[in-house]
C-alpha cells in the first residue's frame, strides 16, 4: 500500500526531519546545547544508515509519489554516502558553533540534498536546490568571526539566486517546449533541434555549472569559501558540490551527452581544471586554495558526464566520496587559531609537522590524494573518471585533462613543503584542532584507507 511505501521511501528524509524538529524544540526550550550536536549526529547517521541499508538490500518501492519522487537502490546508496559524509562536518562544527542553529540549518540543507537525486519533477528538484542553498546563506555568516562573512554570504546569495533564476528560466522553456515538468524530458530534448529546447538545456546546464562553480561561473566560490567558517567551507566544498552533481546526474539520466551541451561539457570543465589548478598556485589562504582546487575538481566531476550514461552515477558518486573524504580530512585537523582569517593562512602551516605531526600527516595525505596521486583514493577516482572519458573516445580531452591535473600537483606539494620542510617559526602557532574535529579526521582517515584498499568493492556498491 502506497502509504507505507511513501513512509519507507522517504525514511532518510524523515529521520532528518525528526532531527530538525527535535533540535528546534531543544532550541525553543533552550536546553543544554551540548545535546543538540548529538541529536543531529544521531539523526544524520540514522538517515545515512537507513539509506545505505536500503541500498544494500536493493529496496526499490514502486514509485510512491507518481512523477515527483522516486528512489532506486543506487540512489539510496548515493544519498547514504553523502549523508554519512555529513557526520564529520557536524563533528568539526563544535569548535566554531556553540548553539544548535548550525545543526538545524545543516540538517535542512541535507534534506534538500536528499531530494535532488530522487526528484522526478523539476518542481521537487527546484525545492531541493533551494532547500540545499538557502540555509547555507545563513551558515556562511553564522559564525560571524570576521566582517567579510557578510560579504561572502551576500555574494553567494546573489549569484546563487541568479543561478536559481537561470535554472527556472531553463525549466520554463523546457516546460514550454514539452509541456511537462518531468525531469526525463531534459534527456529527451538533449539532441532535439528546435531552438527553445536547445536554449532550455543550455540554461539548465549553465545553472548547474553556476552552482558547482565551473569557470566562468566560479567567481563566487573562492570568496564564499574564504568568508565562511572552516566547517561551512568544508560543507560547501564537499557536500553541496556533491549534491549539485547528483542533481546533474539525475537531470542527464543515463543519456549520453550529445547535441549543443556536449561542447559545454567538453570545454568548460577542461577550462576550469586548468584555471582552478593554476589560480590555486598563488593562494595564501588554505580555504581559498581549496576553493580553487574544488573548481578544478568540479571540472573532473563534469568530465565524468562524457562517459557512457550507465557508468555515470557510480563514477560521480565515487569521485564525490573520494574527493570529499580527503577534503573533510584536511579541514578536520586544520589547527585552531584565535583569528579566523589567520586560521588558514598557509604561512601558519610552516613546520606544522614539528608542532602537530598528526595534523600534518593527515593534511599531507589529503593533499596528495587531492592531487590524485596513488595509492590514495583520489587517484582511483581520477582514474575512474578518465577511464570513462577514454572509453567514450574523447582521447584528446582526456589527455588535456590529465595534463591539467598535473599542473595541480604543484600547489598541493607546496602545502607539504610548508608543513614538513620549512623551519618551524612558531609565530602565532595555533592550538591543535579540538578533540571532536580530530575524531572526525580519524573517521575520514578510516574511510580513506577503506577507499584505497578496496576501491573495487566500493565502486561496485554505487
Amino acid at each position: 500500500m502506497p502509504g507505507e511505501d511513501a513512509l519507507i521511501a522517504m525514511l532518510p528524509e524523515h529521520f532528518l526531519l525528526i532531527g530538525i524538529v527535535l533540535l528546534i524544540v531543544l532550541e525553543v526550550l533552550n536546553l543544554r546545547v551540548r545535546a543538540a550536536l548529538w541529536v543531529a549526529v544521531v539523526a544524520v547517521s540514522a538517515a545515512a544508515g537507513a539509506a545505505l541499508s536500503f541500498g544494500q538490500l536493493g529496496y526499490a518501492p514502486p514509485a510512491p509519489f507518481l512523477g515527483l519522487f522516486s528512489v532506486t537502490p543506487a540512489i539510496f546508496m548515493a544519498k547514504g554516502a553523502l549523508l554519512a559524509l555529513a557526520v564529520p562536518v557536524l563533528l568539526m562544527s563544535r569548535s566554531e558553533f556553540k548553539d544548535g542553529e548550525f545543526s538545524i540549518l545543516l540538517l535542512s540543507s541535507l534534506y534538500g540534498m536528499c531530494l535532488l537525486p530522487s526528484s522526478d519533477s523539476f518542481l521537487v528538484m527546484f525545492i531541493g536546490l533551494e532547500l540545499l542553498s538557502v540555509p547555507v546563506y545563513a551558515l556562511v555568516l553564522l559564525a560571524f568571526r570576521r566582517p567579510q562573512s557578510a560579504e561572502a554570504a551576500f555574494k553567494y546569495l546573489v549569484l546563487s539566486g541568479a543561478a536559481s533564476a537561470t535554472f527556472l528560466m531553463g525549466v520554463s522553456l523546457l516546460y514550454g517546449a514539452t509541456g511537462s515538468m518531468n525531469v526525463e524530458t531534459f534527456a529527451q530534448v538533449l539532441s532535439a533541434g528546435d531552438a527553445m529546447s536547445r536554449a532550455a538545456t543550455v540554461l539548465i546546464v549553465v545553472a548547474l555549472f553556476l552552482k558547482a562553480a565551473i569557470v566562468p561561473f566560479h567567481a563566487w566560490a573562492p570568496d564564499a569559501y574564504e568568508g565562511a567558517s572552516v566547517p561551512v567551507t568544508a560543507y560547501m566544498a564537499t557536500l553541496i558540490k556533491g549534491a549539485v552533481l547528483l542533481a546533474a546526474v539525475r537531470v542527464f539520466g543515463v543519456a549520453n551527452v550529445s547535441g549543443p551541451v556536449a561542447d559545454l561539457l567538453l570545454v568548460l570543465p577542461l577550462v576550469s581544471i586548468v584555471w582552478g589548478n593554476l589560480a590555486a598556485i598563488r593562494q595564501n589562504s588554505f580555504r581559498r586554495m581549496i576553493a580553487y582546487s574544488s573548481i578544478a575538481h568540479a571540472g573532473y566531476l563534469f568530465y565524468a558526464f562524457l562517459g557512457a550514461g550507465g557508468s555515470r552515477q557510480s563514477a560521480v558518486v565515487f569521485y564525490v566520496v573520494a574527493y570529499s573524504v580527503v577534503n573533510l580530512l584536511a579541514f578536520a585537523v586544520v589547527p585552531e587559531h584565535a583569528r579566523d582569517d589567520e586560521r588558514d593562512n598557509l604561512q601558519h602551516f610552516r613546520g606544522l609537522y614539528r608542532r602537530d605531526p598528526l595534523a600534518a600527516g593527515l593534511i599531507g595525505i589529503a593533499m596528495l590524494s587531492l592531487a590524485g596521486l596513488p595509492p590514495f583514493p583520489g587517484f582511483v577516482a581520477k582514474f575512474l573518471v578518465f577511464r570513462n572519458v577514454f572509453a567514450a573516445g574523447h582521447t584528446t580531452y582526456a589527455v588535456l585533462g590529465l595534463i591539467g591535473s598535473y599542473i595541480g600537483i604543484y600547489f598541493y606539494l607546496r602545502v607539504l613543503v610548508l608543513m614538513f620542510m620549512s623551519a618551524d617559526d612558531a609565530v602565532s602557532a595555533g592550538r591543535p584542532a579540538s578533540r571532536l574535529s580530530r575524531m572526525a579526521g580519524v573517521l575520514c582517515i578510516g574511510a580513506t584507507v577503506l577507499l584505497s584498499i578496496m576501491p573495487g568493492w566500493v565502486i561496485a556498491r554505487f
Binding site: 546563506y137 566582517p147 560579504e151 551576500f154 546569495l157 546573489v158 533564476a165 528560466m169 573562492p222
Partner: protein, 100 residues
C-alpha cells in the same frame, strides 16, 4: 508574432534586465530587487506556458517561486543590514575585501 511569443519575449526581457541590473547597479537593495525582477520574468513565462498547456505544474512552480523569492528576500535583508552596519554604505562595489 502571436501573443505567446510576445509574452515569452517580455519575460525574457525582464529576466535579462534583472541580470543587467545585477551587473550595473551598485546599491545592494536595488540588486535584490533586480533579482526579484528576474524571478518575475521567469514567472511570466511559466504562467504563459502553464496556461497554454492547460497544465497546473507550471502554476505550482510559480507558486513555489513566490515562496522562495519571499524567503530569499527575508534572508537577504538582514544580511544587507549587517553589511551596512560595517561600512555605512549600500554600495556593493565597495565590498571587495575577499579577492585574489
Amino acid at each position: 508574432m502571436d501573443r505567446v511569443q510576445f509574452l515569452l519575449g517580455l519575460s525574457i526581457a525582464l529576466f535579462s534586465l534583472g541580470l543587467l541590473g545585477l551587473i550595473i547597479r551598485r546599491n545592494a537593495l536595488v540588486m535584490l530587487m533586480c533579482m526579484e525582477l528576474m524571478l518575475n520574468g521567469v514567472n511570466l513565462s511559466l504562467v504563459t506556458f502553464s496556461q497554454r498547456h492547460a497544465d497546473a505544474g507550471g502554476a505550482v512552480l510559480v507558486f513555489l517561486v513566490f515562496i522562495v523569492a519571499t524567503a530569499e528576500i527575508a534572508l537577504a535583508i538582514p544580511i544587507v543590514l549587517l553589511l551596512v552596519k560595517h561600512t555605512r554604505s549600500m554600495d556593493i562595489g565597495r565590498y571587495t575585501d575577499l579577492k585574489g
